[in-house]
């Protein structure tokens, strides 16, 4: 850590908990960072002369006479074009063996964009995955997480989306990333020849958990540099935000705050919103799109972490294994892209909204038929047809291994409608049926 000449050094800690230390000091600012026995710490509470510091690495082995010096500034990141292609830890220090970055120091966790200065997102992001492009179309400037159980291949899907998204920069914020997944990302980006477009801030499972609290702000400070200063389209990948929230709860519980639902801090909503709301379309052309991962436990989306996330983000992509076809699909029921209205039928073919809705409705009918079947009832002819439709729809459109363009997705859908249903059963606006119905 840096040290400054003539700065006052304190050596008397009055209190040590698992994540925090307290000492008497003067002229200390809120949020300021400090070095405690060489470890980075941040001021989280001031009462008179008692300063409480949160130590990101944890307090194991910190003695009461540890040297403490205050740096008089919040956490910062050096930004410049040199960030591209580099890998950093949670503090913004290089971990790829390369040189230090030269650039301008910026405070992380900077102010929000004035809402009247935002532009309405309108640029479609095509991923080739029909479960996304057809049913949950993404738009640049959007913020959206994958909701997935830990055994789903969310990092793979996310890497695919990132590479197909045609972003100028991809910023990876890894929190509690397993070393294997870290290497996986590195490999995929390398193989795609995309490394020079990627900036990574990584906290792996080997690093202390509280350090991850810095990762989203580091990643987003870099993103704002490219989006605002360079007018670039930046895609930020945050994985896994559940582990980020867990770190929040560790800190707040150790600071004796009253937990609310699921032991999460009462401020979880604001804490997460502060990060996700960094997604933006700037009027000057730059944009920040955030694709995150929120792992679920046992598919439970009512847990405080996915629940608060869903209330903040502009939809969610729900991954689920479809046992009928033995593949992972983007579940059309629980998934949603709230910004799709801005592009579907406008940037895509006119029939897109209605085709999407009808197909999902018919897929829902199939789910009902399956329930009937499970309850031992006879199926009607319509039930049988919905089941056949659902299987083919799932395999040809919902599966995450699909990679076609949106017109093709629409054509496949019309093909399936014609194959299994009558026009009245599909119930789409007449002028569209006349134009696109296939027999």
């Amino acid at each position: 850590m840096e040290s400054q000449a003539f700065q006052k050094v304190y050596t008397k800690l009055t209190n040590i908990t698992k994540a925090t230390v307290t000492l008497k000091a003067t002229d200390v600012g809120y949020d300021e960072i400090a070095s405690v026995a060489g470890r980075m710490a941040q001021v989280v509470k001031i009462t008179g002369e008692d300063i409480t510091l949160q130590i990101f690495e944890g307090t194991e082995g910190v003695p009461t006479n540890a040297e403490v010096s205050f740096l008089g500034r919040p956490p910062q990141l050096k930004v410049s074009d040199e960030l591209a292609g580099r890998f950093f830890n949670s503090y913004g220090d290089p971990i790829d063996g390369g040189p230090e970055i030269q650039g301008e120091l910026r405070d992380i966790g900077s102010p929000s964009v004035n809402p009247v200065r935002r532009k309405q997102p309108s640029q479609l992001i095509a991923t080739g995955i029909a479960g996304i492009d057809l049913n949950n179309t993404l738009v640049s400037g959007q913020k959206i997480p994958f909701f997935a159980d830990p055994d789903q291949p969310y990092n793979q899907v996310m890497a695919n989306v990132a590479l197909r998204a045609k972003a100028d920069k991809i910023i990876l914020g890894g929190m509690g990333l397993s070393n294997d997944d870290y290497l996986y990302f590195k490999n995929v980006f390398d193989n795609a020849g995309a490394l020079d477009r990627i900036v990574s801030f990584v906290n792996t499972t080997e690093n202390p958990p509280v350090e991850r609290l810095l990762v989203p702000d580091m990643a987003l400070t870099a993103a704002e540099y490219f989006a605002v200063d360079k007018n670039e389209n930046v895609l930020v990948l945050l994985t896994d935000m559940t582990l980020y929230a867990d770190a929040l709860s560790i800190v707040s519980n150790r600071m004796d705050q009253i937990p609310s639902k699921d032991s999460m801090p009462g401020s979880l909503y604001s804490d997460l919103a502060r990060i996700y709301e960094k997604a933006v379309q700037f009027p000057s052309g730059g944009s920040i799109t955030i694709i995150a991962v929120t792992t679920l436990s046992g598919g439970d989306i009512t847990h405080a972490i996915p629940d608060n996330t869903g209330y903040i983000t502009e939809g969610q992509l729900f991954l689920r294994r479809d046992s009928e076809i033995g593949k992972v699909i983007v579940d059309p029921f629980r998934s949603l892209s709230r910004l799709k209205q801005l592009v579907i039928g406008k940037k895509t073919r006119e029939d897109h909204p209605q085709v999407m809705n009808s197909a999902i409705r018919l897929y829902a009918d199939a789910a009902n038929a399956r329930t009937k079947l499970e309850n031992g009832f006879d199926l009607t002819d319509y039930d049988e047809r919905t089941l056949d439709f659902a299987k083919e729809y799932s395999d040809r459109l919902l599966a995450i291994d699909v990679n076609v363009d949106i017109d093709t997705m629409l054509n496949i859908s019309w093909g399936l409608f014609g194959k299994y249903f009558s026009k009245a059963e599909v119930a789409i606006r007449e002028n569209l049926v006349e134009k696109y119905w296939e027999n």
Partner: protein
């Protein structure tokens, strides 16, 4: 309220946006103060006092704030500034004009003027010299975007006054003197077009607040037809995320028959506000031919903006609403989401280490919510004119569980309940308002029933109750079919079920993104309801239960095509004929 000598203090403690200040003089609960941080002044509000220690919640980030910083108390609570020029403004929760701020990012400590001081307004006096006047009485009016904006005796002025001078017709800025009144002690008080009011205090100045009795048309069928809200009524929309709260509120704010629409984006997404910024200047207000933005005020305190200002934002919105209501206007106020406001209260209460109530919310949450909802309402002003604030808030229940404290507290305060159901949203049955659980207490008001009989039709109420009945029976029958199987029940069970599906698809479901279907005027709602009831009322013969569903699907399809067509144009009638043909083939 202004004090001679301002109380000052110094910062002695900081936890996030909660700051402890040691003071040297008197302070009031909810008093506003400014904390000096270098060149910046951070606005804060007193939330607790213990001896010389005052706890304030700061409306900004406290990053870099140090103990010893000087604090200056202002002698008043958080106030809004009221005067012509509020319409079509975009404010933050503290009524800063967002458009006047510098740069792309919000700068800490930047506070901007809510009014435009240079604009000239053409003023017309409506009171005459010698008149006895009191707070809220109209002195004159200016034209604000086509609305008669009344210049009133300030709400803060207690007692009776005599109008001594009034400006003649002409162009004035908001700060120019437009009247002089004399109080009981013969003191002259000069008045301009501007006044201030503390947001947490309800504005009075009206004669009477009767029960609301008139329908407020929203164009949303499952509200207007099934569970209508009234002018001056209250309602709330709880629902898990993604079930359509915001889309529904936006639809209502575009279509509702109101003079003024105030949208408080309270702790939700910035892009949703941007959508309003982008759309409203383009959309026509069908009643005035002007653009929607001209009747709209936006209070944007999105989720990434300071939490304490989020709490203030709903009060700011309500106070502005009360101001326009006092002019005899119909105000529609929407807050999305009141849960974020409750969470802001929770965050502060936790930092204050208060004894928490259920789910760590403050103990008095229920009282706070009720108190807020009670500020809405229909009023008779002192001059006999009427004005109203209709308030609709969304609630975002944690985990989608309607038994949580914010939903439960709101249920006690609001008269209409529009519960959004996850299952309906999953099935893309939008708007996902649950037709069975939702209610409007106004349907039970005799004065509302009378209004319907007079203004819609004698049998309207009965038709609505019949529809509710059919929907309920449909649901029960579906449960039976699910238990006993399609062929385990008589065929007429299928008929009952499909009749309720017909109502669901044709009346309840409405595509908010279709240019025609999005808004249905009352006349069209009446027409469609009677058509649907006509179909439902007929007897049909079916040989097999599968014939039932395929018949009704055809019917539904024709009806939907009607919903997508301009009312009573050729296409509309073409589908109506097709419909009648289908029915005649089947009916006994």
């Amino acid at each position: 309220m202004e004090k001679e000598n301002k109380t000052t203090g110094i910062v002695v403690g900081i936890v996030a946006n909660l700051v402890m200040v040691e003071v040297n003089g008197p302070v009031a609960q909810n008093e506003i103060c400014f904390i000096t941080l270098g060149d910046e002044r951070l606005m804060a509000e007193v939330i607790k006092v213990i001896g010389k220690n005052v706890y304030v919640q700061v409306f900004e980030s406290t990053r870099g704030l140090k103990p010893g910083s000087v604090v200056e108390f202002q002698g008043h609570m958080l106030e809004v500034t009221l005067g012509p020029g509020i319409l079509s403004k975009n404010y933050d929760g503290l009524q800063n004009d967002l458009d006047k701020m510098e740069g792309i990012f919000l700068n800490r400590g930047e506070y901007t003027d809510p009014l435009d001081r240079d604009t000239k307004w053409s003023f017309k006096p409506v009171a005459t010299v010698g008149d006895e006047v009191k707070a809220g009485d109209w002195l004159g009016e200016v034209d604000e975007n086509g609305q008669p904006h009344k210049i009133m005796v300030p709400f803060k002025m207690n007692g009776t006054f005599k109008l001594k001078e009034i400006a003649g017709e002409g162009e004035y800025t908001v700060d120019e003197q437009i009247a002089v009144v004399t109080d009981e002690n013969n003191n002259d008080i000069k008045l301009t077009m501007v006044q201030k009011w503390p947001v947490k205090v309800a504005v009075g100045g009206f004669k009477e607040k009767p029960r609301p009795f008139r329908l407020l048309e929203t164009g949303v069928r499952c509200m207007d037809t099934l569970n209508p809200i009234t002018e001056g009524g209250t309602g709330f929309i709880p629902g898990p995320f993604g079930t359509g709260k915001t889309v529904l509120q936006h639809a209502i704010s575009k279509q509702a028959e109101a003079d003024i629409v105030i949208i408080a984006a309270c702790g939700e997404r910035a892009n949703e506000v941007v959508e309003i910024f982008a759309e409203f200047p383009e959309l026509d207000d069908p009643r005035t031919g002007k653009k929607l933005i001209e009747r709209t005020i936006i209070i944007a305190n999105t989720s990434n903006m300071p939490v304490a200002a989020r709490e203030a934002s709903v009060y700011t919105a309500m106070t502005i609403g009360e101001y326009y209501r006092a002019m005899g206007l119909k105000v529609l106020l929407m807050a999305d989401s009141t849960s974020r406001w409750a969470q802001a209260l929770r965050e502060m209460s936790n930092r204050l280490e208060e004894l928490p109530g259920p789910d760590a919310f403050p103990m008095d949450l229920s009282a706070i919510i009720s108190n807020f909802y009670s500020r809405a309402g229909f009023v008779y002003l002192n001059n006999g004119q009427t004005g109203s604030i209709t308030f609709i808030g969304t609630v975002s229940p944690a985990g989608g569980n309607l038994k949580e404290p914010v939903t439960e507290s709101t249920r006690k305060a609001a008269r209409c309940f529009y519960g959004l159901s996850q299952a309906r949203a999953d099935g893309k049955r939008y708007p996902a308002i649950d037709p069975i659980d939702s209610y409007s207490k106004y349907l039970e008001y005799p004065e509302v029933q009378e209004h319907f009989a007079k203004n819609i039709s004698e049998d309207w109420l009965q038709n609505v109750l019949d529809v509710k009945d059919i929907l309920l029976r449909g649901k029960e029958t579906m449960e039976q079919i699910n238990i006993l199987g399609d062929d385990g029940v008589p065929i007429n069970f299928h008929e009952t079920f499909w009749k309720s599906e017909l109502i669901d698809f044709v009346i309840l479901q409405q595509d908010a993104f279709d240019s025609i279907d999005a808004s249905t005027p009352m006349e069209r709602q009446k027409y469609m309801l009677s058509k649907v009831l006509e179909v439902v009322g007929k007897k049909y013969s079916f040989d097999h239960f599968e014939d039932v569903s395929s018949f009704f699907k055809q019917i539904i399809n024709e009806f939907k095509q009607m919903n997508y067509s301009e009312f009573k144009n050729d296409k509309f009638f073409h589908h109506q004929e097709a419909l009648e043909k289908l029915i005649n083939e089947r009916a006994n």
